[in-house]
Amino acid sequence: MITRSNRELWLAFIAIASISLLYIFTVAMLGGVPPAREFFGHSIGILGFVLMLMTESLYSLRKRSRRAQWGRMSAWLDFHIFTGLVGPFMVLLHSSWKFNGLAGIVMLLTAVIVLSGFIGRYIYTAVPRTADGVELEAGLLESQIAQVDADLQRLLADGPARTRTILERAAAPAQASGGTFAAIFGRALSDLRFRSEWGRARRELDTNTLNRIDQLEGLVRRKRSLYRQVSSLAAARRLLALWHAVHIPIGMVLFTAAFIHALAAIYYATLLR
């Protein structure tokens, strides 16, 4: 289901599906894989490379501009993810499934940089931020936890004590196991565990509480998430810095090789006489 949080992934999927259909149609028309050196191959390669350049440059520029007039950081991140998926896919089709020489290295680096991007996004979202990308400090997270606690207490004020106990248990921070790495990369597992625990907890709740269950679940989830962010904030920041240290050099090698590949292609193919 398309939600605000995964909209860019759906759009990228639709774009990739559309490009795939065009590619299949071209294959059918030509009776084979369109060569990288001909019109279709060149076109899709150039477009894909331009998208990759946009991926690497526009979002970075926006991050360094704190001026809101250039749009929200979250929107730029969505665009960054969209171009970061569609561009490499087009470059992959441009390869005509041949991975010789520098072109093959560029394709390999492209695959690495996309995979690295997925990892980076996961780490990035572990660091709490405002919609404009400003990182939140631990103190602010603590105050947000207190606010969520107050909201929960207000909703449960006239409820039985047992209900409060059940919800406090559900909202308690997840037991850390595996260190900070697990705290950052184990979010999905933690979410699954919460879902199971929450299902059991619901069965113990009275009717009055169940009438407000959606509101309560939101607060409980929010509280767990804040606990996790507080506990992993420092580690996530360290990991993000490490990721940048690896991702940027790979990207630089990729684009350097890609530019040389393009120049060589112009020399050997476009100027072929």
Binding site: S57, I248, P249, T256, L272, R273
Partner: protein
């Protein structure tokens, strides 16, 4: 303080970029163009050394063996010929012919490299091979009649550098022997003189796209019917467009209607011609428009047909020639009925009451000529003045009516006798102009007149005007007897 520099211009980014450039440059320097090799070169040895190598793969990473830097003169074809010298040395080598006939045809169009060590070096796709560059397109020779793809050998045999046109006729004769026999008889066996391979004159040829579309019966005509003897495109295009060029001998009018058959006929056939007679000197109007052509143009003679009415209608003349031969003087082409005879053109003009009388009143028995024009021929003298005025009615009457009439002859008794001006004849001549009476006006009765005259001793007083010639009483004198 947090840095705002882009990652690519950070020290890490710059160093990584420089390292990448150095690494790629180093490999390129050490291994030639191996990094830019899009695929392995052909490694199939030809059994002999050409240019110092047995296969392209043996050139290693030396790209310049085939590729020409843009700052140098020449092209890849020149590099091919550096090694493959036999191409230019052979007088009729196919490749030599190809190179000579087309500047746009490059070696790599057929001999594509970098497709793998064992891949075929020759990829001759007839659909992409620019055969039209040698003067003949393969557009109509993609697949044979049986549906199989054509190969070079199908038409060229073993010698690609030459072509025998007998191969055309041999193959096409198998497809349609009857057509080919007729076609060869009509146009000869120089196929390439007219056929350029793009089906300009083949199965998809559409004569209707030309200036002379084949419509009606023309669509069924044999090519040679119009293009007989043509053995080149120029001669085919010189076929005349005029009808007479082909149909002169078909002219049923023997040239009487000129040579532009299309004025009346359509390509659908000679029948159903639509001659626009209004363009002729004798337009067909009225009943003439529905007459059969043969009624006037007997024996197929169209020119010199007489235009006077009597030439055709002499037998129809109900007047037996009495009105001459110009029927149109009274009749119109709409029909014999409703004729309008202009009697003003006749010697006896119809005026007054004559204009409304029926023709038969005067022309009894259909007799129109020789009709007497004197009044008495039709009008019998009335008893009123029978024998008195002769037969010249017009002396007193006009054609408007018998009355009033104007008597303008000597009359001893004054017309204006009395006090009422000129009197009507019947005032004095009530029964006939042969007699008169004065008693109709005068108050005296015959008895009083008789008494007055007898008193005067006048016994002969019946003829008043004898004693009173102008009607005056004094004219009779004082009496004195009968006055005789």
């Amino acid at each position: 303080m947090k840095t705002t520099r882009l990652g690519c211009i950070s020290s890490t980014g710059i160093i990584t970029t420089l390292l990448a450039v150095l690494l790629i440059g180093g490999i390129a320097y050490a291994r030639g163009g191996v990094l830019f090799n899009p695929g392995e070169l052909n490694a199939q040895a030809g059994g002999r050394s050409v240019g110092g190598v047995a296969s392209h793969a043996e050139t290693g990473g030396r790209c310049s063996a085939c590729h020409v830097p843009f700052w140098e003169v020449g092209g890849m074809d020149d590099r091919c010929l550096v090694c493959h010298v036999e191409i230019e040395q052979s007088a009729d080598d196919f490749h030599r012919v190809m190179l000579a006939q087309s500047q746009s045809h490059q070696c790599y169009n057929c001999h594509t490299e970098h497709r793998g060590a064992q891949a075929s070096l020759t990829v001759l796709d007839l659909q992409r091979f620019p055969h039209q560059a040698v003067g003949y397109s393969l557009q109509a020779h993609v697949t044979s009649g049986a549906g199989a793809a054509f190969t070079c050998f199908d038409c060229h045999g073993g010698t690609f550098g030459s072509f025998n046109q007998a191969n055309c006729t041999a193959c096409h004769h198998q497809i349609n022997p009857a057509f080919m026999d007729a076609h060869l008889a009509d146009f000869g066996d120089g196929c390439l003189a007219c056929h350029d391979g793009i089906d300009t004159y083949g199965k998809i040829f559409d004569h209707n796209s030309l200036a002379f579309p084949l419509q009606g019966e023309h669509a069924n005509a044999a090519c040679s019917g119009c293009h007989a003897g043509a053995v080149s495109l120029a001669e085919l295009r010189q076929a005349p467009h005029e009808c007479s060029a082909c149909h002169l001998e078909d002219d049923a009018h023997a040239g009487n209607f000129g040579q532009d058959c299309g004025t009346c006929h359509t390509p659908d056939g000679w029948e159903g011609a639509a001659f626009d007679h209004s363009l002729a000197a004798f337009p067909l109007t009225g009943a003439h428009a529905t007459a059969a052509c043969e009624d006037c143009h007997q024996g197929g003679v169209f020119q010199g047909t007489p235009q006077d009415c009597f030439s055709c209608h002499a037998a129809d003349d109900a007047h037996d020639g009495r009105f001459g031969q110009d029927c149109a003087a009274c009749h119109t082409p709409d029909g014999w009925e409703g004729a309008v005879f202009d009697h003003t053109l006749a010697a006896f003009q119809l005026t007054g009451a004559h204009a409304t009388v029926a023709c038969e009143d005067c022309h009894q028995g259909g007799v129109f000529q020789g009709i007497p024009q004197d009044c008495a021929a039709c009008h019998a003298e009335p008893d009123y003045h029978a024998g008195q005025f002769g037969i010249d009615c017009a002396a007193c009457h006009d054609t408007a009516a018998w009355m009033p009439a104007l008597f303008d002859r000597p009359h001893t008794f004054p017309f204006d006798h009395g006090e009422n001006g000129r009197s009507e004849c019947r005032v004095c001549h009530p029964d006939s102009v042969a007699s008169y009476t004065c008693y109709t006006c005068h108050e005296h009765s015959p008895a009083d007149i008789e008494q007055e005259h007898r008193e005067e001793g006048i016994s002969n007083f019946s003829d008043c005007t004898r004693c009173h010639p102008t009607g005056q009483e004094e004219e009779g004198g004082d009496g004195g007897g009968d006055g005789d």
